[in-house]
């Protein structure tokens, strides 16, 4: 039975453990119809020109994708590997997805790195994770700068180790012009706490007489939510791997009309093919926002 997943981080091939085999997903160049190809600010990582895989339509691509990267521990257990290897493999999978998002013009990618619920895990495991996260984040920061990936953080970092807090504070860049991708890392994040802290800020305004209780509306709340760091705060698509069918306290308010996609793949196995399948499923859906199509 799955206990809440402990989510993932970035890794380079410095890991002493060579993963058995999982796709090194360099994006494939697919010659599709000319109208699907988009070149944004020159070439993407790997020199690929940004064409979409066949079958995906440019105009139906989601602007904001959110991911719950579940299944790293199960992946390791199935292979008789230590849990750390699962997380390392998960980090590689995330790196692949970041590259694909850059290539395919997805504007925002939010990843559930660590839930505030995860503190209930054994201390040894959470310590291991914090160390891993710190190590790979250090390795990835320059990579992100080169690839023009803007990084933001949501969640309460005050409980994290001091060194990680400092690293995170340094990693959050000022708005980069023309960034390919805005990567939002949810670290020690809870969707309910996000709503509560937004409501507390609004309560301060009421207390100070700046607004009346009658004035409270959804725009005021959205301005105070931690996802106010982006122009696209509501994910169009949420992907959760490993077959678990729940949100687990991720981005609650922001998920009001998000298309949810659940797949049985474990996160380290989630590569280009699986991402294409998720996007294809997304593009087939009819989004009505309470209205009607006809």
């Amino acid at each position: 039975m799955t206990i809440l997943p402990l989510h993932l981080h970035f890794s380079l091939a410095r890991s002493p453990l060579k993963p058995h085999s999982f796709p090194h997903a360099r994006p494939q160049v697919v010659t599709g119809p000319a109208e699907n190809s988009v070149e944004v600010n020159g070439t993407y990582p790997g020199g690929v020109s940004g064409q979409l895989p066949s079958g995906l339509r440019r105009e139906l691509m989601p602007s904001h994708v959110a991911v719950i990267m579940d299944g790293n521990r199960r992946w390791a257990r199935m292979r008789g590997l230590p849990i750390g290897s699962g997380y390392e493999a998960g980090a590689q999978a995330l790196r692949r997805i970041v590259e694909l998002c850059c290539e395919w013009g997805i504007r925002v990618l939010t990843v559930f790195v660590f839930s505030s619920d995860n503190w209930f895990r054994p201390k040894m495991e959470t310590d291991l994770l914090m160390e891993l996260f710190e190590r790979v984040l250090k390795d990835e920061l320059q990579h992100f700068e080169r690839e023009n990936v803007r990084v933001s953080l949501i969640g309460d970092t005050t409980k994290l180790p001091k060194s990680l807090q400092e690293l995170l504070a340094n990693s959050v860049g000022t708005a980069q012009k023309n960034s390919h991708l805005h990567l939002i890392m949810a670290v020690n994040y809870s969707g309910q706490n996000d709503v509560v802290q937004a409501c507390q800020k609004i309560a301060v305004k009421v207390k100070d007489g700046l607004i009346k209780p009658d004035d409270i509306n959804k725009f005021l709340v959205e301005k105070e939510l931690e996802t106010n760091c982006t122009d696209y705060p509501h994910p169009d698509l949420l992907v959760r791997t490993s077959g678990e069918l729940r949100i687990s306290n991720f981005l609650l308010w922001q998920l009001a009309y998000t298309e949810l996609y659940f797949t049985n793949s474990l996160w380290p196995d989630f590569g280009e093919d699986e991402f294409v399948e998720a996007l294809f499923s997304f593009q087939k859906r009819q989004r009505r926002y309470g209205g009607r199509n006809s």
Binding site: M1, V206, L252, L260, Q286, Y289
Partner: protein
């Protein structure tokens, strides 16, 4: 003679189905049963369109499906059932459609008020949950009457979300919390965190007195919450069968309960942690 035999045969069939259903239920109830199931009843209109039925027929058949599901939930000893009857966003639909849906809702509410209705038979207590000020006076009045008429029922609680969205529910809770705390605000609290806590917000939610749903079932294969119970569904199991709402039946409920039982250990742990 043939007609009598026909009636006997169909009665026998029905009795047999009931018997089989009771057997399945008694097996299911060996394991944990969800305390609270919520339904997003999607697909009524599509069902009618696929079968070339008249406008509104889909919703009427959807109502029959709802009564059946209520009956099965009652037999399964589910204590709370929540349904998403009408979203605030639905008011943006064509006025004729909004009007006809409201008319149907009013008719069904008035059906609840009759003594011999299923609601009294199964001991269903009804609450209408949402921004009821947005409803027309006559619908609001019927809703209030139905709530009063079923007050004495205690077997199952049915929450009908009407003129509801989760974001509106949260906003309403914050507004009420701020109003309640106005006296304290005037004393000049220093710490913003103590102005409003999660307890204050939850206290003022429309769904405050109800445990969080264990399962949300949305029909027609759509996998999104559509602004339904966002706050309450943080750890809820989400089921999205592809059938349209009027097609939902006992087997779909069984499937949802089996999925719930498979996930039960995880859900129990979450409750202990919170």
């Amino acid at each position: 003679m043939d007609k009598r035999n026909g009636n006997k045969a169909s009665q026998l069939c029905e009795d047999l189905c009931t018997f089989i259903r009771r057997c399945i239920l008694s097996v299911l109830t060996v394991g944990p049963v969800p305390r609270h199931i919520a339904f997003i009843m999607d697909g009524n209109r599509r069902y009618a369109k696929n079968r070339n039925l008249e406008d509104g027929a889909g919703h009427k058949l959807g109502y029959v499906a709802l009564m059946n599901m209520l009956k099965y939930c009652y037999e399964l000893d589910v204590k709370y059932v929540t349904i998403y009857a009408f979203s605030i966003e639905n008011f943006k639909r064509r006025p004729e459609e909004v009007q006809s849906t409201m008319q149907l809702i009013k008719e069904k509410i008035e059906g609840m008020l009759r003594e011999e209705s299923l609601f009294n038979q199964y001991g269903v207590r009804v609450y209408f949950v949402g921004n009821l000020k947005l409803l027309s006076e006559s619908v609001k009045l019927s809703a209030e009457k139905a709530m009063e008429a079923t007050t004495h029922n205690s077997k199952v609680v049915l929450l009908v979300c009407i003129a509801y969205t989760s974001t509106d529910e949260i906003l309403h809770a914050v507004e009420e919390s701020c109003r309640e705390k106005r006296a304290e605000f005037r004393k000049g609290m220093e710490n913003s965190e103590s102005l409003i806590t999660v307890t204050d917000i939850e206290k003022h939610m429309y769904m405050a007195d109800v445990p969080n749903p264990d399962v949300i079932i949305r029909t027609s294969g759509e996998t999104r919450l559509s602004n339904f119970l966002l706050w309450q569904s943080a750890y809820t199991l989400l089921c999205s069968p592809s059938i349209l709402w009027p097609e939902i039946g006992f087997r779909h409920l069984v499937r949802a309960v089996l999925d719930y039982q498979r996930n039960f250990a995880y859900l129990e742990q979450k409750q202990k942690q919170s």
